[in-house]
């Protein structure tokens, strides 16, 4: 179960990067500057999420479970905020006429970083869950990162070639929110 979940969460995180590029382009264009900020924001989120998740699994079962619930809430809220108010926020930011790089930092940092960091925080939790099910720590870690990366690839391809050509970005953000909510519940059931 932890491996399947890891694959699914991988889909959401990198698929969301493509949705993020579509969200930003009306306000910031699609220049290499935009992509540099977007990719960096996701990498920062992966990094922060990993350390937070690693910190979380050190707690005893009860607090760990509550921590995982908190991470799930951050993830779902983060995606819901994107679905509800990303455009309004980007409009507001645009009206402030902040320098491009400042505006991009704020947009990526506030819109994308929290939900993606929360998704990334699930990974160490899932590694621990696999380990708790009797898999050696190194094996569990390797396999989780393998399937997560495969999920990333699937997320990019699915979003680019199936979802964006057929559905509006606003609808996709709501689908993301619902799917991440369901996955978060599944992660909680994984945690002993």
């Amino acid at each position: 179960m932890p491996y399947a979940l890891s694959f699914i969460l991988g889909i959401f995180s990198m698929g969301f990067q493509l949705l993020g590029s579509r969200l930003l382009s009306p306000w910031f264009g699609s220049s290499i500057i935009v992509w540099a900020f977007l990719i960096s924001a996701f990498l920062v989120a992966f990094s922060l999420g990993s350390i937070c998740g690693g910190w979380l699994v050190r707690f005893p079962d009860g607090p760990r479970r509550r921590g995982v619930i908190g991470v799930g809430v951050v993830a779902v809220t983060g995606f819901a905020v994107n679905a509800l108010s990303a455009s309004a926020f980007l409009d507001w930011l645009d009206e402030r006429s902040a320098p491009l790089m400042v505006a991009l930092s704020l947009a990526c940092g506030l819109l994308f970083l929290p939900p993606v960091a929360a998704l990334a925080a699930f990974t160490p939790v899932l590694v621990q869950a696999a380990h708790d099910r009797g898999h050696a720590a190194g094996f569990a870690s390797g396999l989780i990162y393998c399937v997560s990366t495969l999920g990333n690839i699937a997320g990019i391809m699915l979003t680019a070639f199936v979802l964006i050509p057929n559905l509006p970005v606003s609808a996709l953000l709501w689908i993301w929110t619902a799917a991440v909510a369901a996955s978060s519940v599944w992660v909680m059931r994984c945690v002993r």
Partner: protein, 295 residues
């Protein structure tokens, strides 16, 4: 360390080879220079007085633009002549915004035939501008200003009115999705001076073309299409106001090459834009996929 110094020396010498040809009509009659920018692999080729700018796409190296170094009034690429149809709506533009520089062919032309005009260009690729200056005889100045910026970002952040807005912002063989949407066209419309016109270079041959037309029609009261025979280009002219009869346009006020180009454009007038297609929006603009699909 020695290897590093040697590498730097070799790199420096290779770079020097790039700088020799220049844009002078008296320069070498043939040369070929290739540079990689943040967005494109750009190839400049000179053959006689004609200098072409091409973007490499794998084995293909499609031509983006070309200029005649000895004659700024000669528009070498057919669609650029049709891009002048803005004159049918606003015959005496004072302020022109161009989104996408190319080799600066239209800039050189407009400076020659409309010397009083102020030209502002937004070009995303600094290397394109640099190579246009270095090899294609383009000379920006205080009445012909180029800013290196995404076209939409530039228009959002600058609310000055324009008499003509010329949209020809191709990157990698296609126009980015955010420059194809209803919201973008609404933004352009809001930046038009009274009596102004937006002129766009479009491509037929895919489902995207129908959506281009429908999206323009969703924003502008009048959108007229002009074929560019022998090419895949179709130029769209979008403007405010009730639909008028362009065939009744009085060309007597124009002279020389501009009049010739407008007469030719009117001969290839296709009529109003079609409306039966998906309107592209910021929320839904799968342009890359529509471009792959046959009409």
């Amino acid at each position: 360390m020695r290897a590093l110094i040697l590498l730097l020396l070799v790199g420096g010498l290779a770079g020097c080879g790039d700088r020799t040809p220049g844009a002078s009509p008296d320069g070498p009659a043939r040369f070929r220079v290739e540079r990689e920018s943040l967005y494109n692999q750009i190839l400049i080729e000179r053959d006689g007085n004609i200098v072409e700018l091409r973007f490499r796409r794998g084995r293909k190296v499609p031509r983006q633009t070309a200029v005649d170094l000895t004659d700024p009034e000669r528009l070498v690429i057919p669609y650029t002549r049709t891009m002048l149809v803005g004159a049918l709506v606003q015959p005496a533009p004072r302020r022109v915004l161009q989104l996408g520089l190319g080799g600066g062919a239209l800039n050189r032309y407009l400076r020659r035939v409309m010397p009083e005009v102020f030209l502002q260009t937004a070009e995303i690729d600094a290397t394109v501008r640099d190579m246009a200056v270095e090899f294609m005889g383009y000379r920006p100045d205080d009445r012909d200003v180029v800013v290196i910026e995404d076209a939409r970002t530039f228009v959002r952040r600058n609310d000055a009115p324009w008499d003509w807005i010329l949209v020809d912002a191709y990157t990698g063989g296609s126009v980015p999705p955010h420059l194809k949407t209803r919201e973008f066209y609404e933004l352009l419309r809001s930046r038009l001076a009274p009596g102004g016109a937006v002129v766009l270079n479009l491509h037929r041959g895919s489902r995207l073309f129908a959506s281009d037309q429908a999206t323009l029609r969703a924003v502008f009261p009048q959108v007229e299409m002009f074929d560019v025979p022998g090419t895949g280009n179709v130029v769209a002219l979008a403007c405010e106001g009730a639909p008028g009869d362009l065939r009744a346009a009085d060309l007597s006020r124009f002279a020389g090459s501009l009049r010739e180009h407008l007469e030719q454009a009117l001969k290839n007038h296709l009529g109003p834009a079609a409306t039966e297609a998906v309107v592209l929006t910021d929320d839904y603009a799968p342009t890359e996929f529509l471009q792959q699909q046959r009409p």
